[in-house]
Symmetry: D2
Subunit: 341 residues, 4 copies
């Protein structure tokens, strides 16, 4: 059965596996002090134009969000996020578990903007009762968003300016960062993100790795004793090499970017195929997630042969579904899908 269900249906890119194999019996020290982890950090820093960047590798996205947000917030602060943000909806209360409120803002296709931040913070401090309320202490955005959309350079710069105005860090969740950076419609580079955000992560799990996210602190702002914080969250791998080796492979020979562009190409092929056949999209997504409006009967028929995700009801006769491409999507599978519609 064809699957466009998500971008984590396969294992890892072959170059990632190859490097795991080649290095397998090399004895290395644990907990991220190995040589591969060090090399991977250097490779990533080359992309960032940010010599002061400090990088830590973690296993997954929710874990990364939870640790960063807990480490950067004061006990009385919460994190501002779109109401559709992953931390707001699909992390089973991971942020609240660590003691912090997610302060939600209405989203616009998954995005929030600088005016919302400014308005929230100013309204907060103008409120005579603000000492009884949760102070906004950080801004969380995802890029690409949960709707596959992207911040433009201008949007990102104005968010960054608003955050600096109020001296609260801007954190970018890049679970699908490669697919954003390689979109044909973006004007944002990884170096721009390093410059405009205080902390962000480069997603590996959805972009060619078995697991792993590269967390980047860009402003000499690595929290003190951060290894202890990682350990305290149960997130410190004994074999830290597992993450270092994977990111070393992904950031060698442009692999991360090449495989991301491939996923974008496949998504464009898929979208064009659907639109040429008269289907409409819910959102004109420039990244690897495509949101197509299907007649309910067509949906049922297609489900017999293809796996994809329910997104939301559109009207009584139609449903929005999501097709995701990835580094692993083949042109053949897209063509097979298009042949079925």
């Amino acid at each position: 059965m064809l699957s466009f269900e998500n971008d984590y249906s396969e294992g890892a890119h072959e170059m990632v596996l190859k490097l795991l194999l080649e290095t397998n019996m090399q004895q290395e020290s644990g907990y991220g002090t190995d040589t591969f982890t060090q090399l991977a950090k250097e490779k990533i820093k080359e992309q960032l134009d940010c010599p002061e960047a400090e990088i830590k590798f973690l296993v997954g996205g929710t874990q990364t969000n939870q640790i960063v947000i807990t480490a950067l917030l004061k006990n009385y602060e919460g994190v501002l996020a779109a109401d559709t943000g992953h931390i707001s909806t699909h992390e089973a209360g991971a942020i609240e578990f660590c003691g912090h409120k997610v302060l939600t803002l209405p989203h616009n296709l998954g995005k929030i903007n600088a005016d919302q931040i400014r308005d929230y913070v100013e309204t907060f401090y103008a409120d005579g009762n603000h000492e009884h309320m949760v102070a906004p202490g950080m801004v969380y955005i995802s890029h690409p968003t949960e709707y596959g959309t992207l911040y433009s350079m201008e949007e990102l710069a104005s968010l960054s300016a608003a955050c600096r105005e109020f001296e609260i860090p801007l954190y970018l969740d890049g679970a699908r960062l490669g697919y954003g950076l390689m979109s044909e419609e973006t004007d944002v580079t990884m170096a721009d993100i390093a410059r405009l955000c205080d902390v962000f992560y480069i997603g590996g799990t959805k972009v060619g790795a078995l697991c792993g996210e590269a967390l980047v602190f860009t402003k000499n702002n690595l929290p003190k004793h951060f290894v202890s914080t990682i350990k305290q969250h149960g997130a410190l791998l004994a074999k830290g090499r597992l993450l270092g080796i994977q990111f070393l492979a992904l950031f060698s020979d442009n692999l991360y970017f090449d495989i991301s562009r491939h996923a974008i190409n496949m998504a464009q092929l898929l979208k064009n195929g659907f639109t040429q056949k008269g289907y409409q999209t819910l959102i004109d997504s420039p990244t690897n997630q495509q949101f197509i409006i299907l007649e309910n009967e067509k949906l049922k028929a297609l489900q017999q042969q293809v796996r994809f995700s329910f997104w939301e009801k559109y009207d009584d006769a139609h449903t929005v579904v999501r097709f995701a491409t990835s580094w692993a999507t083949t042109k053949e599978s897209v063509e097979q899908l298009l042949a079925l519609i």
Copy 2:
């Protein structure tokens, strides 16, 4: 340089990597719902003689300890453990971070006994102030312990009986479980552990996997909504297959046990070599960790050619150091080590 520093210096056993490669491009659903995870659970259950066992795969030991203990304790309860237990000493406060006190008992070569449990619980409830104290709600043991020692069947059975008497679960941390089960001096099987403990985990990270621990609930006691709890702790892998595949390999063709026995054989070779040359051990460890007393000058010389761990000062002229073997230790490396002493 030779390394006996720990049991997680290399990657994974070749059969583990082989299965990762073979299955790499098979599309599977996420979050542990894949077919490999299901197969791995079945394979493990065959070893347990416990049809009601419920198994979840997690990434690391501290994470597993943190999640199990948080899920099983009531808010007002703490966990009893040896003062040398991993949760007491080397998890950076991971248990306290989740709101629970570790109630420590004096260890005997890393172990605690049923009388200590009984005495603690009875003294607690006899104390007129016990409502102002942390109630003992669970018992944590490690097997092998941090000192490489093992519980005998009789010791484990009496701990189990004490826990049942007070209706508190017995949890066994099996980070190095294979090395305990394959020791020549044990009378405890994995099925015994499943019978006597309420929950335990089978360590993968230190026994041939890149990462991963298999958590086993043995008494129809899987906590409700446990997947949500895992997610809330940032511990739910999108590509759950990574863990399932590795345990499928480890529990096929007796691999887990064979490679564990190999490590034990290497440890015996190492210990015998030292003792034949007149060295003394701190503890007569029957597992893969060996604690040797070195003259300080010998220690310094040896450090130039071998990596091992400082354990503790013995006296002004001597130091205890730890040599660890593993599935990856070669006979050649042990012989090279012995040639150096």
Copy 3:
């Protein structure tokens, strides 16, 4: 200066102070085991028609909400509440600090209804991703609400039925309960609340006490080791008598109800005065909080002589302000206020 700023501007009702004085030198045991606390519980139970009720006295409202919600929720659960609920807005993240998300529902004049509960829970369990989301584990309502409104018997009964259908407890925050029960427009008694809610609290701080809330578990559902939970939250008074004595006074000779009715009478006098002079109310509040729409210039003038609370901007020329009466409000002060408008 006149003050209608809130319902906690004075100390305690004279009968409360009188009993504190009379009993002052009587030696009693601590932590709520004193004889006054026992008597107070008996007095309250007489009002509840609920022999199985179990009562604990706590110091304040946020503390009570925090402890009850933490004690009743499972770790993976959150609490449903109106987006205007006190726990949602003005407790500085006290619920999240204890690890739980407040799941907000749009309010209707401060209230939520059974259909919202039913819809939320059913949608939650129908969502294929619900294991990645926070499960609704409890319903929080305030009565009177933050808008001074009241649930009717029918509304409360249907909320109760919805909660029982899904087996989640219904918790009523009665910080101003007396003012709700003595409203001329209510058909709900304290016994009804005991019957329909699983847990609720009878507010003392705003109804004649120096401090204190009486927390009532109505369904044999007092959490185990609840004294330890109170202690763990730093909420167990050494001199528990302070709370017991106050509630003993309040629930002797109908005092709690008489002084609540007085506040209602004063609120009606105030409201009638404003409406007779042509002012409009934002909400037709039947309780002790009155929300009056003032011209901005009138507001400024009035602020010179009277303290009251800003509620919200109405339009460019008008503002909504809140006047609160209480057990301590005198008829003279209301008449002075009305003379000023």
Copy 4:
């Protein structure tokens, strides 16, 4: 029945009640912004010789410990304390509930010393695994201790010096502070404590108040947004005046010190009475708690007529019991007790 069970068996000193009554109907703003609270702070500051002191009033001791420790520790830090410290033993895990480990040191009659601190911190940072351990981030002492003992000026100064050397705050729990300051054997004043400690609290609950502790930050180190932190812990009284008025009374006309000296006088009378009759003390306590060794048969007989506390078993024939005096203890009651032995 006579009671020497504890120092919180009665209500409040008559001057405290008198001021509560006199001020009862004065309208004041809430949450500690009232005029009495301001006056009380000024009165206390007069005693401290510390113009930069910042004072907050809280309800109880465990609450105060929990809030201070949580507000001052970083997430990866724990608090050093004697193994007999109140936070270590009798706060039902209140510190761990907030995410922090209590790092215990062996006590000497309830006290710890500078060498222990220095040794712990130095050993910690010398340990190659310290990133996997809980960092010592604060020192907690009680004065008087749980054993009624006192730190000398020299001991306190050396603890203070050790803390400054490592830049970790020294926190003094003064639940019974008055009884320490008025001891005939102390050379420590309240101003000394303000100078040597970074934060401490002046106990009210056990020294004449109905409830309340005055928390003092002495080094311009009041945590930011501390009111929000108090609120988040459910510890912000709506009627903050309750605490302000009581401390205003206690710190007017030397009351706090006079009533503390009275308790000391009563304790001396009691101790001398026992020793003159040949009884021995476990500890030569200079404060209001006296630890007497009773024959078991004498104990049983005495329990028929006097309430006191079991402390610990001495030998098979003897038991240590505690007699506590307080501001409320009368000379008559001590004489009656002595007549019974």
